[in-house]
């Protein structure tokens, strides 16, 4: 059913990214990923299904980071906090307030977007490493609040949810719902990136001063891009609340932001689809490696180092390079 989602009207005349490479390439990659994910439930067990669902949710988080990092050149370390804020709001609404999960999801996304507006107001004032540090600090504030405001957030014990609503309780149904959401959002984000607005973001990445002299309102562009990115991260966070049914400060802490960023980097920054590959690689590895050794964080760390040296443009980037070389003969 949801497999059809990505087959939206193709727009072949949409601004080509680089001369010599067909603008349809990302669409094909996207289609391939969508088909793979749509067929996954056939061979998988229920545990593997839950991993696949988790991969989709984290791919969405990685994508929201990639939007900024890959296209606007702004690397954020605060997206884990935005993501987790939505998770907190959904679970607070459904368990403490006792409200409907659907309204909870809506509120969670609104809260995450509102938070990213606040982040964006600060973030537009700085670039480069200062942007990195500022988003890191803002994320730490959110983490601190979640840890210390015990009466609302439950402190380090977190909030435990009451389970998913009946309609999406079945793991397979839930998987397809998430897949549909992620597919639609991927398409929207892709359109956003390829729009004139997205192209001017790339312009800002390459030379903010030139864009400014051309009459573009650079801070406004950054502000809007950050807000949209936060909105996407918020949706991922709300989905995570439904999936995990539990939230604690570890969901908003720095390592969450770092993990999202690593997924984007491993997959390939500035590719969007790479987020899916990065999320899949990291989550699957975490699970497979930890089956064999208690030193699994070391193995993962080693893998990151190797990737950065051998394929600094990420897995998708490396594969593309390979294709290009093969084509040239």
């Amino acid at each position: 059913m949801s497999a059809q989602q990505p087959v939206a009207p193709p727009r072949p005349v949409e601004a080509p990214v680089a001369p010599g490479r067909g603008s349809r390439a990302p669409l094909y990659w996207g289609l391939l990923v969508a088909v793979v994910f749509a067929l996954l439930p056939l061979p998988l067990s229920s545990y593997q299904m839950s991993l696949a669902t988790e991969i989709l949710i984290f791919a969405l988080l990685a994508m929201s980071i990639d939007m900024l990092a890959g296209y606007a050149g702004l690397v954020s370390l605060g997206h884990g906090a935005i993501f987790g804020t939505a998770t907190y709001v959904v679970l607070y609404w459904t368990t403490v307030v006792g409200g409907s999960p659907w309204i909870g999801v809506a509120l969670g996304i609104v809260a995450a977007t509102a938070l990213s507006v606040v982040f964006a107001l600060f973030a537009t004032r700085v670039t480069g490493v200062y942007f990195l540090l500022l988003t890191l600090a803002l994320g730490m504030i959110v983490w601190g609040v979640c840890l210390r405001w015990t009466s609302v957030t439950g402190g380090e014990n977190g909030i435990r949810g009451g389970g998913r609503p009946e309609v999406i309780a079945d793991p397979i149904v839930f998987y397809y719902v998430i897949l549909a959401i992620v597919a639609v959002l991927t398409l929207l984000v892709w359109r956003f990136i390829k729009s004139p607005f997205g192209l001017s973001l790339s312009g800002i990445r390459d030379s903010a001063s030139r864009m400014r002299s051309l009459g573009y309102n650079v801070p406004l562009h950054v502000f809007l891009a950050f807000t949209v990115s936060g909105f996407v991260a918020g949706i991922a966070g709300a989905c995570y609340a439904l999936f995990n049914n539990f939230v604690s400060p570890s969901t908003v802490q720095l390592s969450q932001s770092v993990e999202g960023l690593l997924m984007a980097i491993i997959g390939g920054i500035g590719t969007l689809v790479g987020s899916f590959i990065g999320a899949a690689v990291i989550i699957v590895l975490e699970n497979v490696v930890s089956e064999y050794t208690a030193r699994w964080p070391m193995v993962l760390g080693g893998m990151f180092v190797v990737t950065m040296i051998v394929a600094p443009e990420g897995i998708l980037g490396a594969v593309r390079k390979l294709f290009r070389r093969v084509r040239k003969g």
């Binding site: 067990s45 229920s46 545990y47 593997q48 839950s50 988790e54 015990t150 009466s151 402190g155 380090e156 014990n157 977190g158 435990r160 949810g161 389970g163 995990n244 049914n245 539990f246 604690s248 570890s250 969901t251 699970n287 930890s290 208690a294 030193r295 699994w296 964080p297």
Partner: protein
């Protein structure tokens, strides 16, 4: 042809005969009992996690990894001290490895996350280390049982009562600022203040406080009879050290939460830990023969005195093994198995005294007031000085009345206004 018919029929007869001779071996029980055990093997509490695994495996090894006529297979997973990881590992153990039940976890937040997961699917989950009060009080889950564990606020009340009897009137508290600290401190403060004592001041230090001198300066300036201390891990070691350096040792009696003087802390400590009083169900320096037998065996195997982590997991395994024997290995019949666990009275544990569960799935213990002294090998350990019999998680309160008050937190410590 004839031979085949003969083989078939004789085979049938034989198997039928065997069926009569060895009755009631269900096909579902053929394989080993699979136990999913989670502990933090990486991260800041990894040392405790490894002792959990040691203690747990030590018991199963001692019975030849076989109980109730079935083999036992323990699958260990690292929860990294992170609730999200714990949840993921619990899912894997239940849905992929298909374990019969779950065991373990160290930090309260990891335990609470897993408990919420098994609430939905009914998988039995045993928590000898997770002390979060509400798991066996306000938010109890029928398939989550604290075998050989304890509720956080269960042991400080006897210590408060004992302190009152020593004539202490004014006490201050210092505690790590998180739920486990809030709950232990609350248990002490409520009983101490209701008994006529005064809680002069409460200090809350963040986890991993490297410098206690701001607190110690204030403590020294207070006119108090004793101090209640709830620190664990390296915070506990640093606090003892700096308390002694400050010249407070010997002048101000130290009353510790059970973790403050646990072997995991005093194993590496010097004379600064001597004489600290605490309350717990287990004292490795008790002269009870059962305790000493366990301590000697543990020491022989791992070359250290057992901590609460090792002891609790060992006893928890023993508890569940007793129940498995009662149901003849049929752990897949969950309701009967859980009922057997609840009904089990553990008689041969290293405590040397029978232990049973209250109706909320938390054990009732004889609680020792313990003192840290040097043993004949020159190592520090906890020796009982007094015993409070049959202490449940509700102290002397009526459970229903007790659970009407809010759970202990930084803002609610149950202190009676005088």
């Amino acid at each position: 042809m004839d031979r085949r018919v003969f083989l078939k029929s004789s085979g049938l007869t034989l198997s039928a005969a065997a069926g009569i001779a060895v009755p009631a071996i269900g096909s579902a029980q053929a394989g080993p009992i699979r136990i999913g055990m989670m502990a933090p093997l990486s991260g800041v509490v990894a040392a405790g996690g490894r002792e959990m695994v040691d203690g747990f495996k030590m018991y199963w090894d001692s019975v030849g990894n076989e109980v109730g006529g079935r083999k036992v297979e323990v699958i260990v997973e690292d929860d990294a001290g992170n609730p999200d990881t714990a949840l993921q590992k619990a899912r894997r153990l239940v849905e992929k490895t298909q374990v019969d039940f779950l065991f373990g976890n160290l930090l309260a937040n990891t335990g609470l996350a897993v408990a919420n997961y098994v609430k939905g699917n009914g998988v039995p989950y045993f928590i000898p280390i997770i002390a979060a009060d509400d798991l066996t009080q306000r938010d109890r889950i029928p398939n989550v049982i604290r075998v050989a564990g304890y509720a956080a606020s269960q042991f400080p009340p006897p210590l408060a009562d004992w302190a009152l009897k020593q004539g202490h009137k004014r006490v201050a508290t210092i505690s790590q600022d998180y739920s486990f600290g809030h709950e232990q401190c609350g248990g002490f403060c409520q009983i101490f203040s209701e008994g006529g004592g005064t809680i002069v001041q409460q200090f809350w230090n963040p986890l991993n406080t490297s410098d206690f001198s701001p607190y110690l300066g204030q403590i020294a300036a207070l006119n108090i009879d004793a101090i209640f201390i709830m620190e664990l891990g390296s915070d506990a070691n640093r606090f003892m050290q700096q308390f002694a350096n400050f010249g407070l040792k010997g002048k101000l009696p130290m009353l510790g939460a059970m973790n403050f003087t646990d072997q995991s802390v005093i194993r590496t400590a010097g004379p600064e830990c001597e004489g600290i009083l605490s309350s717990a169900h287990f004292a490795e320096g008790s002269d009870n023969p059962a305790t000493q037998k366990f301590v000697a065996a543990y020491q022989k195997k791992f070359n250290i005195l057992p901590s609460l982590y090792g002891f609790s997991m060992y006893s928890g395994a023993m508890w569940v093994a007793d129940a498995i024997r009662k149901v003849n290995g049929a752990v897949d019949k969950r309701a009967e198995f859980l009922e057997a666990v609840r009904k089990t009275e553990l008689t041969d544990s290293p405590l040397g005294r029978p232990v049973r569960l209250d109706s909320f799935g938390n054990p009732i213990y004889d609680v020792y007031i313990r003192k840290v002294v040097k043993n004949k090998d020159g190592k520090y350990w906890n020796v009982p000085v007094e015993t409070y019999k049959n202490i449940s998680q509700f102290w002397t309160y009526d459970p229903q009345v007790y659970m009407k008050q809010p759970p202990y937190s930084r803002t609610f410590q149950g202190i009676k206004k005088s």
